[in-house]
């Protein structure tokens, strides 16, 4: 994964700067996830292991209460998988960007691409690279962006593990993570149909909240994408008709 040429590339800096914009929210959220891991009764070693290896805030938060309740292993893992299903969608999108890499580097790149990096990366590079120079620039951007994200998330998670006794969850510092995601959502809302997608998904996620394994998130994504595609083809059909009569 590591390549010295990335560090010198101007896109490394650009990726790091983009990630720094959301890092305070991520840091506060990571801190509170560290606190939550300790408060749930995980041992210090278990909390550190989770904080360093899992690297997925939403699946950590979903898994912690299940582990504490002694749920069967398959239930915890199935929940983690369902909460992470959005990343499967992202990986389908990112495939063309990374297939020039060997398998090991592809897996490592995928492992490090969180929601934040995915959104900022595809925003900066709407099209995948086709030349070695473009591939280098894109990998440099990812290295900078994912590097800052990893350090702020993991570093603050570890801090939270050791400060768990000092930071009451009632302060609500973890809310900064939701605000970071809100900011990223708004930077994605570049067309009316994307607003529709966000609105449908938000409403569906609330309506289906009672589903197990956070399946409401997956259901909401499916409903929002279906609705957006329907409206998109309806609009295209209308444009074709009015274009034909003009």
């Amino acid at each position: 994964m590591f390549n010295a040429a990335w560090l010198r590339h101007s896109e490394f800096r650009a990726g790091a700067l983009d990630a720094l914009g959301a890092a305070p929210g991520l840091a506060a959220w990571g801190l509170m996830t560290g606190v939550a891991m300790m408060n749930s009764g995980l041992s210090t070693f278990e909390a550190l292991l989770m904080g360093v290896t899992v690297f997925a805030g939403s699946s950590q938060l979903a898994a912690i209460p299940l582990i504490a309740a002694g749920a069967p292993m398959w239930v915890v893992l199935a929940t983690g998988f369902c909460v992470n299903l959005r990343f499967v969608v992202f990986s389908a999108h990112l495939r063309a960007y990374v297939m020039h890499l060997p398998l090991g580097q592809r897996l490592l790149t995928g492992y490090l691409i969180t929601d934040l990096s995915y959104v900022q990366f595809t925003h900066r590079y709407p099209k995948h690279g086709t030349t070695p120079e473009q591939h280098l620039a894109q990998q440099a951007y990812l290295a900078g962006n994912c590097g800052v994200t990893w350090v702020s998330w993991v570093g603050m998670g570890i801090l939270g593990i050791f400060l768990a006794g000092l930071i009451p969850a009632a302060w609500g510092l973890g809310f900064a993570g939701i605000l970071a995601l809100l900011g990223i959502l708004m930077s994605l809302a570049s067309s009316p149909l994307r607003w529709v997608s966000a609105g449908v998904a938000g409403a569906a996620a609330v309506a289906a909240f009672a589903l197990p394994f956070k399946l409401n998130i997956l259901l909401a994504i499916a409903a929002a994408v279906a609705m957006s595609l329907l409206l998109e083809s309806a609009r295209r059909a209308r444009d074709t008709t009015s274009g034909g009569s003009a």
């Binding site: 582990i67 299903l85 994408v225």
Partner: protein, 116 residues
Amino acid sequence: MSSVTDVWTVLVILGLAVITVVTRSLFFISSKPWQLPHWAQRGLQYAPIAALAAVIVPELVMTQGQLMPGWQDARLFAALAGAAWFLTHRAQRQAVLGTIVMGMAVYLPLHLGLGW
């Protein structure tokens, strides 16, 4: 509340780490030439924002699995303030940072001061 490390929990945690890798790289694993169907390619441009909204909205309007009982909730006002900041500063590089700072500047006084 035990703080003794047990093998079962360690295995679950390592399993979760494997799931992170597998879900984030699922479509990177096979190197066979392969393309998404056209409708799926179009659908993908609506999926990321939907995923974010599906995660965020319940966190803003629900309390313990129920819709919040009234409007006196710090999260609502903080989200509105953050969104307003973003919309007025979206051209700037650090608009996301402003959203977080503005939102927390509204959230913390309401939450800690008024108990909303």
